[in-house]
Each structure stands twice: as C-alpha cells, then as structure tokens.
Amino acid sequence: MRTADGGRQSHRGAVTGGTLGRPPFALLVPACLAAALLVVPLVTLVLDTPWGDFWHQIGSHPVRQALWLTTLASLATVMACLVLGTPLAWLLARIEFRGRALLRAVVLVPLVLPPVVAGVALITALGRTGVIGRPLDAWFGVTLPYTTWAVVIAHTFVSMPFYVLAVEGALRSSGEEYDAVAATLGADRWTTFRRVSLPLALPGVVAGAALAWARSLGEFGATITFAGNYPGTTQTMPTLIYTELQSDPMVARTVSMVLLVVSIAVLALLRNRWLTRA
C-alpha cells in the first residue's frame, strides 16, 4: 500500500503541467445533479424490484402474454424494417430523384414526433374510417385498429426512421465507387445491391435493426392510441406496466426491470466495436 502510494507520489512529482486547474463549481454542481437525475431512478428501480417474487411474477399469465406479444411485435417490426426499410435506405442513398431531400426529411419526422401523435396519424390513415382503413374494411372486411397487426404497424412506424437512418448512412459510407466497379464487371443493380452494397453495409444493417428493435420494445404512445391495451392481442410490456401501476405496482416494477435489462443489453451490443466500425 505504502509503496504503491509512494510510487504514485514520485510519478506526480516527475510530471507536471498539463492540468488546466480544478473544474469550476458552476459546472461541477449541475453536472452532478444531471448525473444523479439519470442514475438515481435506475438504482431505485433495481432496489425496489421485488426480487424474491421475481420469477413468480414473470410467470403470471398477463405478464407472459405481454412478454410474448412484445417479443412477437418487436421481431415482426425488425422484419418489416429489414424488408421495407432496406430498399428505402438504398433508394435514398443511391438514386437521385426530385424530392429526395423532402422524402428523407419526412421519413425522419417520426423520430421527433410525439408517439401519441403517431398513433392519431395512424388512425386517420388506417382507422375504420381512415383514408386507407375505410376501403380495407369495405372491400376486404379487414379492420386494423385494436389488433396485433396494429401493434406491429405502430411499432414499425416509430422504429423505421432509426433503421433507415442507420442503413442509409452505412450505404453512403460504403461507397458508390464499388457500384461503378460492379457495373463495369457486368452486374445489374440488383446483383450489385445483393452482392456488394448490402454486405458492405451489413454493420449498419445490424446496428439499425438493434435500434429499431429497442425502439419497438419500449413503444407505448402510438401503440396504446392506435392498437389499444387488450391483454392477449395488443397489450405489450409497456402498456402492461401502465395498467399494473394502477392495480399492482410490484408487477409494474418487475416488468420494468425486465425492460431495463434488455435495454442495457442492446446498448452493450451497440457499443461493440464490430457494430461501430462502419
């Protein structure tokens, strides 16, 4: 202990300068407040979680239903992003057309839109009397609101921008010059996309999918507005938490704890070098 201290002392004695002085209180105090605001609730959530009862509560019927639905909806959302969002990202990254800047701006609106507004917007389009919803109902007898499909649509609506943003960036940075090379070698654009652009943008695709998945897991506002909160069909983990807070706060904390753990796992995944390399 003493030798270690002594070593550090001599080290400090040998190298001087390079320090610009103490951090001022005017910055230190608000910084500590901000950190406390972010950290304390998470710590209290962990402490207040009824750990003894944890697995019993996770196993209860409504929680299992909500877990299953959340898993299903979030995976379906990721699939929708992969299948629909990747081509959109490619279009924005590679094709010049009138209104591209406008389209990109519109695609990004859900990033900042209050989720409840997203839900209202979805009702105006796909609701029973909506522009698309009415003919769907009249011709095919399909009504979307308050179904599991509505959950997936709401989740996709709010998650897609994260995905498109990540993949478009990856496609741009992976370079159009490779597309030119592929063209001189006789590849059509589909082949080039499949064999060159997409593999090179893969880190972005993975990162975008993780972001979209995380966004879908926590989706509340758009879901409850457009799909409602029916156990078994539209009740996801966040809407279950909302319901249980009023009846059984302990269940709410347990389910919140599950979402916290999953969020931290996503964050860890995204910080992985493999994902940030692109």
Binding site: T184, L185, D188
Partner: protein, 325 residues
C-alpha cells in the same frame, strides 16, 4: 466502320477527345494532373455522362446510349478498389458470375487468371490481406476476366514500390501482347508509354493535343509535360516546335557570342543530380533544362538565384511543325 475504338466524346467542361484505336493496341494516355485522363476513361466506360459518339468493334455505344454493364469494358483503377468483403478469387469471379456464368466455371476461370498473374496461392485471401502489388494483380485479373473489348487501366502502377511496379510492368506487357482487345493505359510514367504502348494520346487541359507512336511523341513533344517526361526541352514558335536535349545546352555567365544561334537568359531555380550530371532548371521567358558537370557547377558557382545564359547550337535542335506528327 472500324473494328476498333472510334470515339468523339465531350464531357462538358472537362474533356474533348477525338480518338481511334485498333484491336490489340495499347494506348498510353498521358498528360499533367487534371488534364482529363481519368475522365476520358470513365466517359468511355459510361461512368460519366458525355456527349458525342463512341463505337467499339463496329457497334455504337452512344446511339442508343449503352449502360455501363453492357459495355464490354474491364477497369482497374488506381488504388485497386477490390471488393473488400470478397476473397481474391471471388473478386475475379464476380464479373463472369454477374454475366451468368455458373459458379463452378467462374471460380475455375478466376483461379486460372490468378495463376496467370502469379497470385494463385492467394486466392482465398481478402484484399486487406494482400500487398499493394498483389492487390493490383488481382485487380487487373478481375478486369480481364470478363474478356472485355476495352481494358481501361488508370495508373495501375501508382502507389507501388519501384521494384514491385517494374515487375508488374513486365508481367502486364506479357499479358497485353496476347490480349486482342484495346488497352487504354493512363500513366504518369514515360517508361510505361515507351515500353507498353503502341500509341500515345497526350491530353492537356481536356484536349487531345498529340497522338502518335511513343517514339515519335517522345522525339517531338508538343507539350511541356511530355517534354519533361522524356527529359527534353521543347519550345513553340508560331506552329513550329524546337526540341533539344538538356545535355546539349551550354551554360555561361556572360552572353555567349559566336556560333550558338539560340540563347536565353534566366535564373537558376533548382539543381538536382541526374545520372553523372547535375540538371538545372532555369526560369526565364521559358523554363529550360540544362545538364552540366559537377565541376561546372563549382566553377560557375551555380546556386539557385544565379542569373545565367543558356545557348544551344543549331545542329543540336530538332525542328518540326505542329501538323507533322
């Protein structure tokens, strides 16, 4: 119609070129930076939009405009641009497979190409695991693997060590003799033009200013750039060019009298060893090169900033007209 390349292309504001080449020919495209060499190649490949006409092997590529992938070109750019996520063999097989050759055949052909370029044992490596010279070999093999009518090489030796570049140059020369398509080779190196090319196109400020066999272009350069490349002084006067070797220039401190008809005054701006001699760059009305012995440098106290007279005998000067080449 010609069996080779006939092009009258204009990339607005960048390149204007009227050129032809015969099948089997290797054309060196030379000129200073920004002269439009790469742009010309890209316009031929269809990678940059251009006006005008181009036909290859009697087929028009401009009427109607042919998309890049249907032009029979193989390109190797400087800096290789191999697909970083594919192995060497997959890079080479990419072209044939894109054109519908079954995977097995394409892979076998790709391996053959890599063997031919002496990198067969590196087939499974990714580009990141190859040296510059190896990657450039793979790149050229990839360009040739589609059996293109036109092979477009944009400074294939740039950025390579001198030894590696020399070895690759020899290999390429061997391959090009058996290649029956047309090769356009952008280069900064007089050696490439003189050793590999059947024909030289000299570009300057987007225009093709001289076309001819390498020896002729080297002997009768019309631009300062080419003159510097081949180490000649060249002067233009009313459509007449005079060229002479720096070794035949006499340097003196006083204005020369006597038989030397051509004389210029200028200031020494740089000195550099050139073989056994010292090469001076003298800046006056024109930039001129003069080779002198180290003894003369000491005797005349030639340092940058020194004002000197250059003269050259009439018999040392080769004179030619702009339209003779």
């Amino acid at each position: 119609m010609s069996a080779g390349l006939v092009a009258r292309l204009e990339v607005p504001g960048r390149v204007h070129a009227e050129v032809t080449a015969e099948p089997g020919e290797v054309v060196a495209v030379i000129g200073p930076n920004g002269a439009g060499k790469s742009t010309l190649l890209k316009a031929v490949a269809g990678l940059v939009p251009s006006r005008g006409e181009i036909s290859v092997g009697g087929e028009s590529w401009s009427q109607p405009p042919r998309p890049v992938r249907d032009r029979s070109v193989g390109m190797a750019f400087q800096g290789q641009q191999l697909f970083p996520h594919l192995s060497a063999v997959d890079n080479v097989a990419f072209g044939p497979r894109s054109r519908g050759v079954p995977r097995e055949h394409a892979d076998r052909a790709a391996n053959d190409w890599l063997e031919r370029f002496g990198v067969g044992d590196l087939a499974r490596r990714r580009p990141g695991q190859l040296s510059g010279g190896q990657a450039q070999r793979v790149s050229i093999a990839r360009a040739l693997a589609t059996d293109p009518r036109l092979l477009l090489l944009d400074e294939p030796f740039a950025g390579l060590d001198i030894g590696v570049a020399t070895a690759l140059r020899l290999e390429l020369a061997r391959h090009l003799t058996s290649y029956d398509g047309i090769t356009l080779l952008v280069t900064h190196d007089a050696i490439d033009a003189l050793t590999l090319a059947d024909q030289v196109w000299v570009l300057d400020a987007g225009e093709v200013v001289q076309v001819g066999p390498p020896a002729e272009v080297a002997a009768q350069p019309r631009t300062d750039h080419v003159a510097r490349l081949v180490g000649l002084n060249v002067l233009e006067d009313q459509g007449r060019f005079m060229s002479f070797s720096p070794t035949l220039v006499t340097v003196s401190l006083a204005e020369p009298t006597g038989s030397a008809r051509h004389r210029w005054s200028g200031v020494v701006t740089s000195l550099a060893p050139h073989g056994d001699a010292i090469r001076l760059l003298v800046t006056g009305e024109r930039d001129l090169l003069a080779d002198v012995t180290p003894a003369a440098v000491a005797e005349l106290e030639l340092v940058p900033g020194r004002r000197v007279w250059l003269s050259v005998k009439e018999t040392a000067v080769r004179t030619y007209r702009a339209d003779s080449a």
